[in-house]
């Protein structure tokens, strides 16, 4: 059975400046024990959706079910959920112990049970030696652990996490990320996790929901989202550096099919030509290819590689093991953005050098110019 279900959920703020709903017709089933990540740019409605599940925000239309029960009109306390907030939201006047015990005390649990549970969970999170301190006396990472502890100590049926790592420094974030994954594996509690950080989404989620403008763009496993993005938004949002989008046209040639524009003509392998794409022959579309599926080589005499185009190196960024090469293939039109190739450290060239860019056409994706939807 699905743990959490959202059916045609809308959120419309009365009196909002824009008529556009904050969340539009959202449908999702989250399985028991699943780690679901909502990802999107700020203002995309991911937090609003989470808050509707939590009961902190009313639902304008549609219904939300937790454990098969419609919870639209239930208060947060009746939904048996726990939430971790971006700013931790620890009660500043209570010790860490009391912070974790607060929910249990409200449930009239016996004192010895409370102290047993809190100490046990605190040990798990390695904060048991800090329990008599106030939140202001511990570090950000420790506060985050307490916030997690406060959530797990109640043993809720769903965890909701609203950008819990965004207030931490980079190193701490990586550490807490793996800690949350470990915790999820141990407890197996259904988790809904909101983030704007695609790395977090990719590394943590069993499935990912990509949102934009209050609309769910795609839901799928990290692999699906990365390799088979539903549309240009998802393709461009996930991945660093982002996918390259190259405007062009699908043409029939003597050898088969080719993707071409003013500057080049790239053969498209026959197995990629499905009925869906065949309808686009002779029409404009947008090609998409990830930086890692392209490579560069210097323009030396030993013949031209197949399926290549030429580009002038504009910028070369060394990021540890990789080197991102920004190449301009259409120098006549400055509005055409450069393509980014993920090269190796050895691909060291001076800016301004002309290079051959080879694309792995098997990994090429095509998007509709107007709708932005992926064709193949």
């Amino acid at each position: 059975m699905d743990k959490v279900s959202l059916r045609n959920v809308w959120k419309i703020y009365p009196g909002a400046k824009t008529a556009a709903p904050a969340v539009r017709d959202f449908n999702l089933n989250i399985g028991d024990g699943e780690f679901m990540v909502f990802v999107g740019a700020s203002g995309c409605g991911k937090t609003t959706t989470l808050r509707m599940i939590a009961g902190l925000e009313s639902i304008s239309r549609g219904e939300i079910l937790i454990d098969g029960k419609v919870v639209n009109n239930l208060s947060p306390r009746q939904r048996n959920i726990a939430m971790v907030f971006q700013n931790y939201a620890l009660y500043p006047n209570l010790t860490l112990f009391e912070n974790m015990a607060f929910g249990l005390r409200l449930r009239k649990m016996e004192k010895y049970r409370i102290s047993e549970l809190v100490n046990q969970k605190a040990k798990k999170l390695e904060i048991d030696h800090l329990l008599d301190r106030l939140p202001k006396d511990v570090s950000g990472g420790q506060r985050q652990r307490v916030a997690l502890g406060r959530a797990i100590v109640r043993d809720p049926s769903v965890f909701l996490m609203d950008e819990p790592l965004s207030n931490l420094d980079a190193k701490m974030r990586v550490q807490m990320r793996s800690e949350i994954i470990r915790l999820h594996r141990e407890l197996g509690t259904t988790t809904v996790y909101v983030t704007h950080d695609q790395t977090e989404a990719m590394t943590m989620g069993d499935r990912i929901v990509v949102m934009n403008g209050g609309v769910m763009q795609q839901v799928g496993t990290p692999e699906e989202i990365y390799n088979e993005p539903a549309n240009r938004y998802v393709a461009g949002f996930i991945g660093t550096p982002p996918m390259n989008f190259i405007p062009g046209r699908l043409e029939k040639t003597q050898k088969g099919y080719a993707f071409s524009n003013r500057m080049f003509l790239l053969d498209v392998p026959a197995e990629k030509i499905t009925p869906a794409i065949a309808r686009y022959v002779g029409r404009d579309l947008v090609g998409g290819i990830r930086p890692e599926y392209m490579s560069v080589r210097p323009m030396t005499g030993e013949g031209r590689p197949a399926n290549h185009f030429a580009g002038r190196l504009e910028l070369s960024e060394l990021v540890g093991a990789d080197r991102f090469l920004h190449l301009r293939y259409d120098e006549t039109d400055t509005l055409v953005p450069p393509v980014i190739v993920r090269g190796s450290v050895r691909d060291k060239f001076d800016p301004g050098t002309m290079l051959y860019v080879t694309a792995d056409m098997g990994m090429f994706l095509f998007f509709d110019v107007n709708t932005g939807m992926r064709i193949i």
Binding site: R77, M83, A89, F102, L106, R154
Partner: protein, 304 residues
């Protein structure tokens, strides 16, 4: 004999350390401002010093012309006089004191509770008409109590509270300033705190008392000062809403010491001076204890 030389280059701290200033590094403009502020502070201190001095002046010094500011031969005779002054009145001094203490304590407590509840509703809850209601409270800040004295009398009268202690308490209860100050402070408490408590299973009252109130204690302290001063020093409720002497409060008694009784007013000059100090003392103590929270609140709320 060896002389100790003070190195000239050393910073001289004159108790300004926690302002981050040292005299050497102070700019001229800052120094001028500090001087002016010190002068203003001294001037505003004068009446308090004067009341204290007066309370301890023997009669001949009280009637000295031209009057002398400081006391020469301090005496506690005035306090004795003050205690005896009540002998002639039908109601003992302690009754006024009792009334004042009961009224002030209960009114202050009620003002704080009602201001907290009201501010919480405005700051953390959403309900129709919220903006309009809060605007009304802000407007109410502008009215002096004298402007609504007739309507107040009518309300107290209709409620049948004339000549009861409630008549002293009730008119003070709605303190727009209290609601306003606490609300402004509460707005700075992140909503996620109350939301976290809500998810933990707390009701609104529990959230207000256990989570929000501890976070706005400075504002509560400030409101306590204001409320206390309003109620403790208020004579109007005694003159307007009470008839029998046994229901009147201390400020009324103190003022009646001098007014009306022309024949004995000379004799009671010293008692009045002592009473003045006694009336001032609680205010003084409360402010001394809570001044930090008062200043903090005033700075963050932008009100003077």
């Amino acid at each position: 004999m060896q002389t100790r030389k003070i190195p000239l280059g050393r910073k001289i701290h004159l108790g300004l350390k926690h302002f981050g200033y040292s005299l050497r590094h102070m700019r001229l403009s800052t120094a001028v401002i500090l001087l002016i502020l010190t002068a203003v502070a001294l001037v505003s201190l004068l009446p308090i010093v004067y009341v204290i001095c007066n309370a301890f002046k023997p009669l001949e010094e009280l009637f000295l012309y031209p009057p002398r500011f400081f006391v020469r031969n301090p005496t506690t005779q005035n306090f004795t006089d003050f205690m005896y002054a009540t002998d002639v009145s039908t109601v003992p001094f302690t009754r006024y004191l009792f009334n004042s203490v009961v009224v002030t304590l209960s009114a202050t407590a009620l003002i704080i509770v009602s201001s907290l509840c009201c501010a919480y509703a405005f700051s953390k809850l959403r309900f129709p008409g919220q903006k309009g209601l809060f605007r009304m409270i802000t407007i109410a800040l502008m009215f002096s109590p004298e402007a609504v004295v007739i309507t107040r009398y009518l309300v107290v009268n209709r409620l049948g509270l004339i000549d009861t202690l409630w008549a002293h308490i009730l008119p003070h209860l709605a303190l727009p300033m209290g609601v306003f100050l606490i609300k402004q402070f509460m707005d700075q408490v992140p909503n996620s705190l109350s939301e976290a408590a809500k998810i933990d299973g707390a009701g609104e009252m529990r959230i207000l008392w256990s989570i929000i109130t501890p976070a706005v204690l400075p504002a509560v302290g400030a409101v306590l000062i204001i409320a206390f001063q309003n109620v403790w020093g208020d004579m109007s409720t005694s003159t307007l809403y009470t008839v029998s002497e046994s229901m009147k409060t201390l400020p009324y008694f103190v003022s009646s010491l001098t007014s009306g009784l022309t024949a004995s007013s000379v004799a009671r000059k010293g008692a009045t001076a002592a009473a003045g100090l006694l009336m001032l003392l609680p205010n003084f103590i409360i402010f001394a204890v809570l001044q930090k929270s008062m200043i903090e609140t005033m700075v963050t709320s932008g009100i003077k």
